[in-house]
């Protein structure tokens, strides 16, 4: 099915099941511990051995020699695979560094060996007995230094320009020119990267934890040099991904290589201290923002440049993306510059581009509002635009940023905020409020599904879509139930298997809308098949209460499909609506913080997000997405940073004790409001994404609240107490 004209009325609009805050259908499996995650899969597997991955001890250089003799002789060891013994390996299209290093080492903790043994403990102990001699090479590990040699990336976003930015900025009566920095971030998901690999002849099956099944199949096949059809990837449950599991990673490759060498199934989980340097991370940025405005607050010039680094062959963090679209202004420019760094591979993490971009832009907007003597909400309202400001002939499909900010202000009690910073005290706490816009583009991806209606009236949906904790199982079941007029209990959803139709997968907040649109397409086809079987005109047939009805004739679906049931498959594909209309999601983040006047410790007191993101398919799972994203935004604001040892070239704080993320005590109160909205340009579901919108702007809202509390502006994340302590009031 092709979606190339705006959606009109369709069965989803009944909203009997879709749009309802139903519980997760996979909830009981998860809360009872019976959802098998990758490492826990047992069915059909015998004699599984354990693989333990050894990571490189240097950041850059080469392996001079490896001595495996002691490890091979250790108890329980079956085999050891290294680059020398693995056979010819290609590299996945979506990998920057090789997943198995040697002799060249591209980054710290790059995998250099997998030890396969009878038990996990034996494999781990033997891995420690491998002796590797390295020849170190010099590397670049400091973005601030490497920035000087940064260049314009060739294969991603080019510089954007409209009008004459330089002249307009120079002429602007009120202007801001500031530089902001965001650090490297780790996904820090609960479930580590884990895979069980089993070979049957030349066919490979992987039970793994991966957000994008088809990408994983393709890159595994390419890496091993085997046909795609010989690779099956199964990933039904995923304990968090946040972009860290978009790609084939070392756990999967090393399990496959280990299993091939051991001639047995092999399971591999990356150890927690290895995940931070072995896998991908959100790259650090340095961002320069210039805004010029007239006295009335109208932006006349806006410029945003961002520098980030990556390994040779990698890409930039698209931190200027939102600045091309979020605010009006005749004269504009954006530019990305990429430096070569020899740190681990940078890549996507929840809202790549906008998350760090909004961290900077939305502080700049707060600063600019203050320069203008305007309320920061009013300043944003004045500069709202209903069209793409770079291409004014392109309207937004829906844009309710102003509504989000206004309703949020009302709900949060924004009018109680004093614009003069550092004035509100509550005992030892300096109290402040901050606001930021939320913005994240909406992407649509082709997505397929197979639906089967059996002679008991059960509907089974199969798609390789994944559920990374987002609620995919549930919204897909809701969609199928709505389309076929059956109760939710009659729907079974099977996800994350490469033998199922290729879906959008989970990434870029496109999964919810795109995958349900694919299920919609398959259900439309199934409705036609059912109607045809009964001789009904499908356009007139009514699917409701487990029956299909035409006029006075009503037939139970179980009967209508016949003894063998009916199976159909379809995919939703997209035309050029997303080119003709800019599709984005919007929101307002409101935060109140307390800053301990003695210690400078920042504690968030309450948070509110108001989101306008198309139809909300399930308010309960959507809310969970947004509060999780808000929590992650607090982490980015206050504590999350991969600390680089710039001499040795690695992330030092590579475990969950060193890389702090918010704990329950950091998040006292959160509220989420979804505005009523449908977006007919996005898909027949009229939905968009929320999982990434929820993080975009949060950190800046926290930063702005801190400034409002203290009068001290910090432009370097995370805002830890040492960055403002010396500028807090002296104690009386």
């Amino acid at each position: 099915m092709k979606f190339d004209t705006p959606a009109t009325t369709n069965p989803i609009d009944q909203l009997k099941v879709v749009g309802q805050p139903v519980d997760r259908i996979d909830g009981p499996l998860k809360t009872t511990g019976t959802a098998p995650y990758a490492y826990e899969h047992h069915e059909g597997l015998e004699n599984t051995a354990y693989g333990y991955v050894l990571g490189a001890a240097i950041a850059k250089g080469r392996i001079a020699s490896m001595d495996l003799s002691r490890a091979k002789a250790a108890p329980g060891v079956i085999t050891i695979v290294t680059a020398e013994t693995a056979g010819a390996l290609d590299k996945g299209t979506k990998n920057t560094a090789k997943l198995l290093g040697g002799p060249e080492i591209e980054h710290y903790h790059q995998a250099v060996a997998v030890v396969v043994a009878e038990s996990f403990e034996q494999a781990r102990a033997a891995a420690q007995l491998i002796r590797v001699d390295y020849v170190k090479a010099d590397g670049a590990f400091d973005l601030a230094d490497a920035r000087k040699g940064a260049t314009a990336p060739t294969d991603t976003q080019a510089d954007s320009k409209r009008g004459n930015f330089a002249a307009a900025f120079a002429a602007a009566p009120v202007k801001l020119d500031e530089t902001y920095s965001t650090p490297d971030h780790a996904h820090a998901m609960m479930e580590p990267h884990a895979t069980i690999a089993a070979w049957s002849g030349d066919k490979l099956t992987l039970w793994t934890s991966n957000q994008m099944i088809a990408w994983g199949v393709g890159d595994m096949a390419k890496t091993l040099g085997i046909p795609k059809q010989n690779v099956r990837l199964v990933s039904p449950f995923i304990g968090g991904g946040f972009g860290g599991k978009l790609f084939l990673r070392a756990d999967a490759l090393m399990a496959a290589l280990g299993a091939r060498a051991a001639r047995r199934p092999v399971k591999v989980a990356l150890s927690r201290p290895m995940i931070f340097n072995n896998t991908t991370h959100r790259p650090a940025t340095i961002q320069r923002i210039r805004i010029g405005a007239a006295q009335d607050g109208k932006i006349t010039a806006i410029g945003h440049e961002s520098w980030s680094g990556d390994l040779p062959g990698g890409g930039p963090e698209l931190a200027v993306q939102q600045t091309r679209l979020l605010y009006a202004g005749e004269n504009r420019m954006t530019a990305l510059r990429l430096a070569e760094l020899d740190l681990p591979e940078g890549n996507a993490m929840r809202a790549p581009g906008e998350a760090p971009g909004m961290m900077a832009l939305e502080i700049a907007m707060d600063e600019m509002a203050e320069k203008l003597g305007m309320d920061p909400i009013e300043f944003r309202v004045v500069n709202d635009t209903q069209v793409d400001p770079e291409n004014p002939e392109r309207p937004f499909s829906q844009r309710r940023l102003v509504d989000c900010l206004r309703q949020g202000a009302e709900r949060f009690g924004w009018s109680a905020r004093t614009p003069h910073p550092g004035r509100v005290r509550d005992g030892d706490w300096l109290v402040g409020m901050g606001v930021a816009a939320a913005f994240r583009n909406n992407l649509v991806m082709k997505s397929g599904a197979r639906v089967r209606l059996d002679n008991k009236g059960f509907l089974t949906v199969e798609t390789d879509m994944t559920d990374i904790g987002t609620g995919s199982y549930t919204v897909i079941a809701q969609t199928a139930a709505e389309m076929m007029g059956v109760p939710l209990e009659k729907v079974r959803v099977r996800l994350g298997d490469s033998t199922f139709p290729v879906s959008a997968g989970s990434g870029g907040q496109w999964g919810g809308n795109s995958s349900t649109a694919g299920v919609y397409a398959a259900c439309v086809k199934l409705r036609e098949a059912v109607a045809q079987k009964l001789g009904f005109n499908s356009a007139d047939a009514v699917f409701t209460g487990g029956t299909v009805r035409l006029g006075n004739r009503s037939v139970p679906l179980a009967e209508a499909v016949g003894q063998d049931g009916l199976v159909v498959e379809d995919a939703m594909d997209y035309g050029d609506l997303s080119k003709r209309y800019q599709q984005s999601t919007f929101g307002g983040h409101f935060v109140e913080v307390g800053v301990d006047v003695v210690t400078g410790e920042v504690r968030v007191r309450r948070m509110l997000a108001v989101c306008a993101a198309g139809r909300i398919l399930n308010p309960k799972t959507a809310r969970s997405q947004v509060i999780g994203a808000m929590t992650m935004g607090v982490g980015a604001a206050l504590m999350e940073e991969l600390k680089i040892d710039k001499r040795l070239g690695f992330f030092v704080n590579h475990d969950l004790a060193g890389y702090e993320v918010p704990v329950h005590a950091d998040i006292p109160h959160q509220e989420v409001i979804f505005l009523e909205e449908t977006d007919p340009m996005s898909s027949p579901m009229k939905a968009k994404g929320v999982g990434e919108l929820g993080i975009c702007g949060v950190a800046a809202a926290v930063a702005n609240a801190i400034y409002n509390a203290t009068g001290v502006r910090v432009r370097d994340y995370p805002i830890t107490l040492d960055k403002h302590l010396d500028r807090l009031p002296e104690l009386s």
Partner: protein, 316 residues
């Protein structure tokens, strides 16, 4: 993890004797730190002596009006003890500021004193670390050192002791009771128990090989106002950037100990003597020999401000 043998000790003296017989033996109680370190092969004992069965889990009054805390009393139980809460509030508060509920349920009093530093270079076996591998060097010096020592560090090591409880024990003048391999017992003042790193950062306490902690004794209550203020990057489950333990008397005298600044809880009796002269005099004495790194210079104003606030609070 290196393979190890295991035994359950029948008495404290037997445990100590067993430990001295096997050169690479370690005692295990709660295991909340040791097991992590063993998995990473930072600790590689060949033999574990499980002391959990020894009846060292009582909190009992002493003859001179103090409290004797068995080595195996869990942190949760110690923090909740009514006598501790009434008479040694700083200890209860320090315990509750540490770790998480689950860890406190498992962690013991003796184990808390013996936990190893959380220096990230100590935790990464690819990195040089004089504490983990004597003579290999210190990667933290010149590296990422935000959490590290500002006082009492050496050219060999700038790690800090991570315990909150130990800071309170120090301000309360606790005594560590032990039994040695030959069955003799001794009492070690907490002030002498932990060492500064010097040239031998691998030697963190004065305990001899095989010597087992049996109890920690608190002297008779000293009264006063008890404050434990821990400063950290998140609201819970984080090690201290700095912490301040205060016992302040109405007459202006009192005691102060700092955590998160040195290889041991930091208390100077000469600084305590400055208490009647006010916070400035106290912190100037306490921090007189401070040598921060560029990453952790903020700890000095942080101590100054936190201490001033705590002393002001104590005055009421």
């Amino acid at each position: 993890m290196k393979s190890f043998t295991y035994e359950r000790a029948a008495s404290p003296a037997e445990a100590a004797a067993a430990a001295s017989r096997v050169p690479d033996a370690k005692f295990i109680a709660g295991g909340t730190n040791l097991l992590d370190l063993m998995k990473l092969e930072i600790e590689t004992p060949g033999h574990l002596i499980d002391v959990n069965g020894l009846a060292l889990d009582k909190i009992e009054p002493t003859n001179d009006g103090g409290l004797r805390i068995g080595a195996l009393v869990r942190n949760t139980d110690l923090a909740a003890d009514a006598r501790v809460r009434r008479d040694y509030g700083v200890l209860s508060r320090a315990l509750l500021a540490g770790a998480s509920g689950q860890l406190r349920n498992k962690a013991t009093t003796a184990g808390n004193l013996l936990q190893r530093t959380r220096c990230p270079y100590f935790y990464d076996t690819n990195m040089p670390c004089n504490k983990r591998k004597p003579g290999s060097g210190c990667a933290a010096i010149g590296g990422f050192s935000r959490q590290h020592a500002v006082l009492g560090a050496s050219e060999a090591c700038i790690a800090v002791h991570p315990s909150d409880m130990a800071v309170a024990m120090r301000v309360l003048d606790a005594t560590v009771e032990t039994v040695k391999a030959d069955g003799t017992t001794r009492s070690i003042a907490i002030a002498d128990f932990h060492r500064l790193p010097g040239d031998t950062p691998q030697e963190e306490t004065v305990l001899e090989g095989g010597e087992l902690i049996t109890a920690v004794t608190l002297p008779k209550p000293v009264g006063g106002t008890h404050i434990y203020r821990k400063v950290r990057d998140r609201a819970s489950y984080a090690f201290a950037l700095v912490s301040v333990a205060v016992v302040a008397q109405r007459d202006g005298t009192g005691r102060v100990a700092l955590g998160g600044v040195a290889h041991k809880p930091w208390r100077l009796e000469a600084a305590d003597a400055q208490m009647p002269r006010g916070a400035k005099a106290v912190h100037e004495r306490l921090l007189a020999d401070a040598k921060p790194t560029s990453d952790n210079a903020f700890k000095l104003p942080l101590v100054r401000r936190t201490l001033a606030s705590a002393l002001a609070e104590a005055k009421g």
